[in-house]
């Protein structure tokens, strides 16, 4: 055991404007050690990873490799000092072939090919275009490229997400073997099964702080979940304690074995009128794509969808809107006309259809926009351009658009992301009220504590499948968190 760790990040802090992403994060990796970095959504994990790999400059704190401060804010420097990352998204250039990509990073070709074979990819041609290769192969090439330069510390960020099980096994075995030879590994993952199989230790982040350092042993999952939850600030209490009973026999929206490969493969649920159905999922479990399929942006690869008992097939969001399915996306910038007024943004759907291309019904428009503005209490002092509004008010505009047209089925994707607490507290009762008036709402949120506040039931999606349906009203956060991590009551995950 050498006394200086391979990597030692301490007291790391980083703010983006007024948002403090990291306040006090630590991570050490000793020679031959595999350390899992864990944290719930928004805990500051990705910011920490970016700082460790040199992509971001910390406001405070330092990152030492073998005791030396080797780099600040430069991924290339980090790479030279021995830290090589492999990210969730392939970082190979699709328009170049394999050997050109290797040349870009000065990767020794022989070692690369050895690792590719070792990792279980047969017959790879160096002249193959990256863009023609399947995603799983690219993940392996990324890893082989990293291993070929003999890194001191390897950072794997959700690298197994797109891999089939047999390749995952290969990857884990290879990484373990390299660690036994002395390489340090930082393993960022949501998957408890892989972590308990592979890792020696886990560092848990919460609200931008390192809150625990645990040795991996049987039963450690419980401790990790507890640490990730911690004490939460109060964001409001549930207004309606009674879950709404489904009022109709026919579901408003019914999906069966819906799949959109490779993001999600088996999602079924019924959404009834008068109900808010929560979606519980960690980042990247297929929920983004699920909402886009339901909203008509993508066609499912298999499975069926029914609206009010009739099968539907959407080729365009206009088809979904025609049967009353409206979508509020997670990224407000996807939904807003930044330079246009509040009125034009809210009234946009009124002009969408061909037979509304003529003169605008000014009175109707004024009334409906005023209704939405009042209902949501949108601050209209800067109504000339929505880009001058606060984040919370911008989000209200995207929701207000569908209030103005009348809500039947509303798909809300993380509507409270990055907005102030006051606006959040306005959004939950609004969602409840819409449901009470007969609307059906599908509600995904990255903040688990919102599920009991707004929802009647919740489906849990893990790894692209619905793994559980839970009663939201009396689900505590522990249950939700365990479910989100794919941990069932009887140990052993999906």
């Amino acid at each position: 055991m050498s006394s200086t760790p391979l990597l030692d990040a301490s007291d790391v802090a980083k703010s983006f404007g007024a948002v403090r992403a990291l306040t006090n994060a630590h991570l050490t990796v000793a020679e031959g050690e595999i350390v899992a970095l864990m944290g719930a959504n928004g805990a500051g994990k990705s910011t920490f990873v970016k700082i460790i790999t040199g992509a971001l400059k910390p406001d405070a704190g330092q990152v030492l490799i073998r005791g030396k401060q080797a780099f600040v804010g430069s991924p290339a420097e980090a790479r030279r000092s021995g830290l090589v990352p492999v990210y969730q998204e392939p970082s190979l250039i699709p328009d170049l072939d394999v050997s050109d990509n290797l040349r870009l990073t000065d990767t020794p070709v022989d070692q690369f090919q050895n690792w590719v074979t070792e990792l279980g990819i047969e017959g790879l041609k160096l002249s193959a275009m990256i863009g023609d290769l399947p995603l799983a192969t690219l993940r392996i090439l990324d890893l082989a490229r990293a291993l070929a330069v003999e890194p001191d510390v390897l950072l794997l960020d959700e690298m197994t997400a797109a891999l089939p099980t047999d390749l995952v096994e290969r990857v884990l075995k290879t990484v373990r073997r390299k660690a036994n030879d002395g390489m340090g590994v930082i393993y960022v993952s949501h998957r408890f099964t892989e972590i308990s199989e592979l890792c020696d230790r886990a560092t848990v982040l919460r609200d931008g702080m390192s809150v625990g350092d645990l040795d991996i042993e049987p039963g450690v999952e419980e401790r990790v979940v507890e640490l990730m939850l911690g004490q939460k600030i109060d964001i409001g209490t549930r207004q309606i304690l009674q879950a709404n009973e489904p009022r109709a026999k026919t579901p408003r929206l019914s999906i069966k074995s819906l799949a959109f490969e490779p993001s999600f493969s088996d999602v079924s649920f019924d959404l009834f009128p008068g109900e808010v159905l929560g979606v519980v999922a960690l980042e990247g479990q297929g929920q983004d794509e699920l909402f886009e399929v339901l909203a008509g942006f993508d066609r499912p690869s298999s499975g069926s969808m029914e609206v009010d008992g009739k099968p539907v097939n959407f080729a365009h969001p206009a088809d979904a809107i025609a049967v009353g399915i409206t979508f509020v996306p997670g990224d407000r910038s996807d939904a807003l006309l930044a330079q246009r007024s509040v009125k034009e943004n809210i009234a946009l759907p009124f002009s969408a259809r061909l037979n509304n291309w003529g003169p605008i019904k000014l009175r109707h428009e004024r009334d409906r926009v005023a209704y939405a503005v009042e209902k949501l209490q949108i601050d209209t002092r800067a109504q000339g351009e929505v880009q001058r509004l606060s984040g919370g008010n911008q989000q209200k505009v995207t929701i207000g658009r569908w209030l103005a047209t009348g809500v039947e089925t509303l798909l809300l994707f993380d509507p409270t992301r990055g907005i102030d607490v006051r606006t959040k507290r306005q959004i939950y009762p609004l969602v409840r009220e819409l449901a009470d008036q007969g609307a059906a709402v599908l509600f995904y949120t990255s903040e688990l504590e919102e599920i009991p506040l707004a929802c009647d039931r919740a489906v849990v999606i893990f790894n692209g499948r619905v793994v559980d349906v839970i009663d939201a009203a009396d689900a505590d956060e522990q249950t939700l968190m365990r479910a989100a991590y794919g941990l069932t009551e009887t140990e052993g995950a999906a």
Partner: protein, 335 residues
Amino acid sequence: MSMDTTDPTMVRFGRYLRDNPIIPLLVFLILMIAVLEVLRPGIVTPFRAGRDGLISTFWVGNLIKFAIPLAMLAACQVLTMLTAGIDLSVGVVATVSAFVCATLSAIWGVTPAVLIALSAGLVVGVVNGIGVGLVRVHPLIMTLGTGLIATGCLQVYQRLVINAGTEIPALLAWLGTGRTAGMPNGLFVFIPFALFILWLMRYTGFGRLLFALGSNEQAAKLSGVRAWQVYLGLYVLSSLIAALAGLLYLGMIRQTSLSLANPLLLPSVAAAVIGGTSIFGGRGSFAGAIVGALILRVLDTMLTLMQMPEGARTALFGLIILAVTALYVRITGTR
């Protein structure tokens, strides 16, 4: 720390100008006319040259007359630029429309000639609209391509009608060269046209969608807008306007050629840009483009008066357009 002016009155003034881009443009236009008057005393104000009248209606009428076709083609650019597009086929479409009208009038009479001339524009517009909206070719490439194809077709067509001779319909000649109370008759077409475009941009669903597509096509899609329909409508409209402008231009010039209105293409883009329309979409004003067209006409007169050689004139023309646009962007903070 920075050199930015943080004076709130300056900021407020800048924002006011940005919301009303027409004001600095009008100031600039008047300034240019003043310079013209200094260069050649009496050209705008006859009394200084010892003649009657405060302002020369002849000069003003002439300025407006030649600005009309330019402003109409600039309308095509404003509308397409709202969606972050451009229509480079308008010059050719105007030429084709004028040529077809003049030749067919001699054979079949005026009414069918005008209708066929407009349908030629329609065909180009449909092709542009399908290319941009459905095949998703970049508008720059698409309209450049259709413009070249239309030029080729026009040359073939010319061979076919080479012996027919040409005739300028009397109505077009009256619109193009006649005057009522000193003002060009072209205004009888242009004023209703301009009002229609201003109304279209501001008070119709179609106009809203143009702004929406240029601001954020994803958001428009999310709201149920089928973008291809809008693009198809837009490029058809643009080509029809260009064909109409070609007819007016024919009446004004009273002769045809295979490149009659082609030189108006780049000035039409310049007029739109000077008038405050963003080539990146989502922001634009037809009123500004009209003033932009007037500015370009005054500039042209000025350079002619200074008796510069052709090359220097063209170069200076380009330079001044760049300077005006840069100045304008600086003043209003738009891009």
